[in-house]
Symmetry: C2
Subunit: 302 residues, 2 copies
């Protein structure tokens, strides 16, 4: 079992959806990815928070095998995002983005994290993701996530980053935006031409696709009514990489299973507000859900 390193945002989110308003709940790409990964392996977290960030949560993460020594605590407020979801939860509007101490985030990978073989570059500025790549030493697998904001605003850095990562995990809309294509076959081909040898396209309520050479795999969506989709993509990526790190290889079957385990963790993530369901989840729950994913797609090709 190998460890994984997660670099990304640790934040407060204020969420508004049909169920109500949830002020300053725990958020951030690295938070979700670390919690998701911690079901499978040891996690090392690198991020930045302000002095207002609850130490209780850091302790909770530590108790789950997440090494928080790379979580810098700086003077000033923690990154705070506020958003309003539509009633059907299929889209959201940003109401406020207060960067706080995150504005000056310059990820420093602690010496003892630099040889960690599995690396997750959470959804932060591509320049910062590149800086992490410069600091780590011969990782076995680097996974990166990104979003529309960077595709629009930092495309050259993002393209440079893509040439240096092994796996791109991206949602379908952003995959279309980045590739300039609509049809999945063309989208995948264009993104793989940009550098990564493995691609995961997340389709939300329609599941996910894995493209890894001849290993092409479809994961179904899990049927449920989401409570809060915040962080589901980060939980997917963290669960995916955590599963790969646990098994220490990228064999076709391992990657397929990793997509399903990532999907399973993400499906739990959306069952509660923010990280609450991830915090109440057990490995046994995940294994049972993976069996249900299997039951959803199983048939005999007589």
């Amino acid at each position: 079992m190998s460890s994984m390193l997660v670099v990304g945002s640790v934040a407060f989110d204020t969420l508004h959806n049909a169920r109500g308003s949830f002020p300053k709940v725990i958020g951030g790409s690295a938070t979700y990815a670390s919690l998701a990964g911690s079901f499978f392996t040891d996690v090392q977290l690198v991020g930045i928070v302000g002095r207002d960030f609850p130490d209780e949560l850091v302790q909770t993460m530590r108790s789950r095998g997440i090494d928080c020594d790379g979580l810098e605590v700086a003077d000033g407020p923690t990154f705070h995002w506020e958003g309003q979801y539509t009633d059907d939860l299929t889209s959201r509007t940003s109401l406020k983005t207060e960067l706080g101490v995150f504005a000056d985030f310059d990820p420093k990978i602690p010496e003892r994290f630099r040889q960690t073989p599995f690396v997750m570059l959470g959804n932060i500025a591509p320049e910062l993701q590149l800086s992490v790549l410069d600091q780590v030493e011969r990782p076995k697998l680097v996974v990166a996530d990104t979003m529309n904001f960077w595709i629009d605003g930092a495309r050259p850095a993002l393209e440079k980053l893509l040439r240096g990562v092994d796996v791109l995990v991206i949602n379908e809309e952003e995959a279309r935006q980045l590739s300039g294509h609509h049809h999945l076959v063309r989208v995948a081909s264009a993104l793989l031409d940009m550098g990564p040898r493995t691609l995961v396209i997340k389709q939300g309520e329609y599941g996910a696709w894995l493209f890894a050479g001849e290993n092409i795999f479809n994961a179904p969506a899990f049927l449920l009514e989401a409570v809060d989709p915040t962080g589901a993509g980060d939980a997917f990526a963290g669960g995916f990489l955590g599963y790969v790190a646990r098994h220490g290889n990228t064999e076709p079957e391992t990657l397929r299973q990793a997509v399903i385990y990532g999907s399973a963790v993400a499906s739990f993530c959306v069952e509660g507000i923010a990280v609450e369901r991830l915090l109440s989840l057990s490995r046994e729950d995940i294994v049972l859900r993976v069996q249900r994913f299997r039951d959803l797609v199983d048939f005999k090709p007589v």
Copy 2:
């Protein structure tokens, strides 16, 4: 192996898409469904055409085991629909609908078709679908398709029809429209409450779902770049029912396989303009594609 009865439209379509214009190619819900079903079992077709309809196609259908004695030939032009697809083929606009002899279509099920155990009510007016239901005798399984036009314009008749059919096959957008819900779980629950005990929701480029009591199943989309999506839904339904009729039961595994075989036939259908790919297809092609569907979703739930 049981026979299946298909009632629906037989038509000319004039198609415009990014590849060009295709005037008066063969179309119609019953045409696609019959051709798709004919890969699996004997088909009986009931529909109406004008004297302008090519006898050559009728002969082709007969040579494939499609009994065309229920295809009425009337004075006047064959139903003609003309449509323009968007370049990405995800939507289309109707340019012209010339009902011709179809305006007076009053399906008469020939005596010897009335006890056919598997019945496909293609996408025509719910009143006509109800009239077919009145004429058939104790079918084992009745499958119905419908579309937005009838949901908007003939809802009471459609609701009556749904109380009398076993399987509703419907695309996702229309399923949302008919149910008034967005989330798939709620959509399915509402539609099953309307009568059918089995529901198939087609999601186009995202695959399909089967809901049959506790038998809930997801079929992936097949990865390809469509040439022409016309008739894919009808080909799906015809392939689905043809497979069920061939096996003569609605066991959970049969229904799962039927969804995949229907998906496989539909995936071929969109590879050519109108029915051309269905006409060049072999059973062997279908079996190989089913294996590829299997490969897309297979994983070991360790």
